[in-house]
């Protein structure tokens, strides 16, 4: 109770509430505007969160995250274009409801579903993350090494079409994380060290600037391909009867529960994300509808069931993805990878230590997550007639602003050090170009982020483990937890290969 009150005191102040409200509105806008993503939004506000107290900063990031995941349903319902891949399944029934003159109910329903998904998965987060974190008490350097390995391999195997490309990008992220000083000897590991030893290069690759480059700059460059394409006209849609009847919502309780479970579990598996969860939830909803003897409407006919299932699931992913992120330091998706980066910048290492030494912050994170979900619902309902107008803003105006914010953001991380700030902006451009090339050629970029985050953890624990075993490299095969993780890593490599062969 003391921790809860301490956490509450960190959150319940004007500054945190105001920043979270702003973050929520910004998130909804980012989610609603096609081409801008939740991860990009978090990466862009990260430099701002860095300047704020920890709980306020995390609250701001979570508000953007929840807002962006939910906001994507607005263009999906009104225009039939998902704001980002999270709302890809909402399009099917959402747009048909709009065509039937039920846009208000679809939008209102999406908000209620998002709120149920977000808060439901938060309850799972509160219940499971301390338990998982406690289990990590038994983890020594060898277990941590294999945990980092399994996190990397899973995200590499599921984040793109090609397993090898995913693994390659993970390795690429890891070697970038090695630039700088050797964690044990302090020796410089940068090219041309004799010339660059007095420059910011010695600090290695700044994580925030890399994330801003990968998700902000690269997205701007990538979206330029759509700049001269005619924009989908935003029709004037009459929005009335915002809330669907309670009786209708109650009749969908099985769909809600199954989507909540799917979203939370899928979110907790590293590398999967909302775009997978939404289709799984639709599939499950279809089975429930078939077994309902006509009590529920058929999917694809413009029904509320088709909006509720994906919207509960994609918001449940937010809480689910935070379970491994907070408990193990392994992000569930690229957005939580950025959140972990934000925690690390603040000097907070996720895992059992966080739960043991900083429990009030953990509670503050849970409370901010709850407030973020409330704000998301509140501001989406309040602005339901305004957001469609914002969809008219052309990308040509937005992209230069995003680019400038990316540069200033990476500069600001350095605080008062001008040369470090300029170096950070250079990293943002470099990673932006890398991200652009990768996106264009079908290389997934989330494994790079994981590599950047887990690279150092992997190397440090690997060396510690081998040292403790007096140079025995087989120490990883002598511990049961390590063997379990290695087995998981092998499975996540072998399974997609077998699946592909079967499909052929």
């Amino acid at each position: 109770m003391d921790f809860f009150l301490a956490g509450l005191s960190q959150v319940l102040n004007v500054s945190t509430i105001a920043w979270m409200a702003a973050g929520s509105i910004l998130g909804i806008l980012l989610g609603a505007l096609p081409g801008l993503t939740a991860t990009m939004g978090i990466a862009l506000v990260m430099p701002i969160s860095f300047q704020l107290p920890t709980a306020t900063g995390i609250g701001l990031l979570l508000a953007v995250y929840c807002g962006a995941v939910s906001g994507a349903s607005i263009p999906a319902i009104l225009l039939g274009i998902p704001g980002n891949p999270n709302a890809i399944a909402t399009v099917i029934d959402g747009k048909k409801m709009t065509d039937k003159g039920l846009a208000g109910q679809a939008l209102g329903g999406a908000v209620i579903a998002s709120l149920i998904g977000g808060t439901g998965s938060l309850i799972c987060l509160i219940f499971f993350s301390p338990l998982i974190a406690k289990a990590t008490l038994a983890f020594g350097p060898a277990e941590k090494t294999t945990l980092a390995l399994v996190g990397l391999v899973i995200i590499a195997s599921v984040s793109g079409k090609s397993l090898l490309k995913g693994l390659f990008m993970g390795a690429f992220g890891m070697i970038l994380s090695f630039l700088g000083a050797d964690p044990f000897s302090g020796a410089l590991r940068i090219p041309f060290a004799q010339y660059l030893s007095q420059t910011p290069f010695t600090k290695g690759f700044d994580l925030t600037s890399s994330l801003i480059g990968l998700f902000g700059v690269s997205q701007v460059l990538y979206e330029l391909k759509n700049i001269d394409k005619p924009k989908e006209p935003v029709k004037q849609v009459e929005i009335k009867n915002l809330f669907p009847p309670f009786k209708k919502i109650r009749s969908m309780w099985k769909i809600i529960l199954s989507s909540l479970g799917i979203g939370t579990v899928v979110g907790a598996i590293p590398g999967t994300g909302a775009s997978i969860a939404v289709f799984m939830s639709l599939d499950s909803a279809r089975n429930i509808i078939n077994a309902s003897n006509g009590k529920l409407e058929e999917l694809g006919t413009g029904c509320l069931e088709g909006v509720f299932a994906p919207e509960v699931a994609n918001n449940a992913v937010t809480g689910g993805a935070l379970i491994p992120a907070l408990a193990l330091g392994i992000p569930g998706d690229s957005a939580t990878a950025v959140l972990i980066g934000a925690l690390m910048i603040k000097g907070i290492a996720p895992g059992y230590q966080l739960f043991q030494q900083n429990m009030s912050l953990v509670y503050a994170i849970f409370i901010t997550m709850f407030i973020a979900n409330l704000f998301m619902a509140l501001f989406q309902i309040a602005g339901v007639r305004i957001y469609p107008k914002i969809l008219k803003v052309p990308g040509g105006i937005l992209f230069p602003i995003v680019l400038a914010l990316s540069f200033i953001g990476s500069y600001a991380i350095a605080g008062q050090a001008t040369s470090v700030g300029i170096y950070n902006m250079g990293i943002a451009i470099f990673m932006g170009l890398i991200g652009y090339v990768c996106k264009k050629d079908g290389y997934p970029i989330s494994p790079i982020v994981l590599g950047l985050i887990l690279g150092q953890m992997f190397e440090e624990n690997f060396r510690r483990a081998v040292k403790l075993a007096a140079g025995n490299y087989f120490t990883f095969f002598t511990k049961p937890i390590c063997l379990l993780f290695i087995l998981l890593a092998i499975l996540s490599i072998v399974y997609p290969i077998i699946k592909k062969k079967r499909e052929k």
């Binding site: 090219p191 040509g396 540069f407 500069y411």
Partner: protein, 240 residues
């Protein structure tokens, strides 16, 4: 060879090879105080990763061949290519010249040029006159707005501290809000003036839009990071 195979995996292949040589020439670094031994050293993981990257990128290069008409929607037309190159070049210029020109000038120019180019789908010769006049006017407005905002901020902060004005007026939040108010009023006045001076509506909308976006965004970012978060932004030419 490159007609049928993609260039990206080849570039990654070369990069991996260079990385392996770099790791080898870097030498090994051991844990401090590792007299008993057992530390595998700082070279092993980078080396293993480098070799893995080389083999995998080589394999991808061999197998991932170009397919005719593949990714048609990913292919850029002339306008898009032009805008992509312009964005990359301007970004590089922004970073390399930020120290000389300072945050205010370089950020507003970056935003102005890119917004104008995006709205007119490339910087065409016929638009250059409007483009340059718009750039000059928006820079003048920005400097005027910035200077007025700066003077007001200093006045409030200094006099607030000396208690010549009510202390709350000198607080950082009140200063920020009053500066935003002043900047908005000034911007509004300039907007009316420009609308009266320039009557030609043809290209005027894009110029005005680009100018307004650049002035407002730059001023907003300045107020947010410099005044609110106290980040030391580069002053450059505009040293006051």
């Amino acid at each position: 060879m490159f007609k049928t195979r993609k260039i990206t995996p080849f570039a990654f292949c070369v990069f991996s090879l260079v990385y392996i040589f770099y790791v080898v020439q870097l030498g090994d670094s051991r844990m401090l105080g590792d007299s008993i031994g057992g530390d595998p050293g700082g070279r092993i993981i980078p080396l293993v990763l480098g070799i893995f990257m080389f083999i995998s990128s080589f394999y991808i290069w061999l197998t991932d061949k170009k397919v005719k008409d593949e990714n048609v929607e990913n292919k850029l037309n002339t306008v898009e290519k032009h805008l992509l190159i312009l964005t990359i070049v301007l970004s590089l210029l922004y970073v390399s010249t930020a120290r000389i020109f300072g945050f205010i000038l370089s950020t507003s120019l970056l935003i102005y040029i890119l917004t104008f180019a995006n709205l007119t789908l490339g910087l065409q010769k016929s638009n250059l006159k409007a483009f340059f006049s718009g750039a000059i006017i928006s820079e003048i407005i920005l400097i005027a707005v910035y200077t007025a905002g700066r003077k007001l901020t200093r006045f409030l902060l200094i006099n607030g501290r000396k208690q010549l004005i009510p202390a709350w007026l000198g607080s950082s939040v009140a200063t920020l809000l009053l500066t935003i108010l002043l900047v908005s009023v000034l911007f509004f006045i300039f907007n009316i003036l420009i609308n009266k001076i320039f009557k030609n509506k043809n290209l005027f909308t894009q110029v005005k839009m680009s100018g307004a976006i650049s002035v407002l965004t730059t001023e907003f970012l300045y107020l947010m990071f410099k005044q609110f978060f106290l980040v030391e932004l580069i002053k450059g030419i505009i040293y006051w």
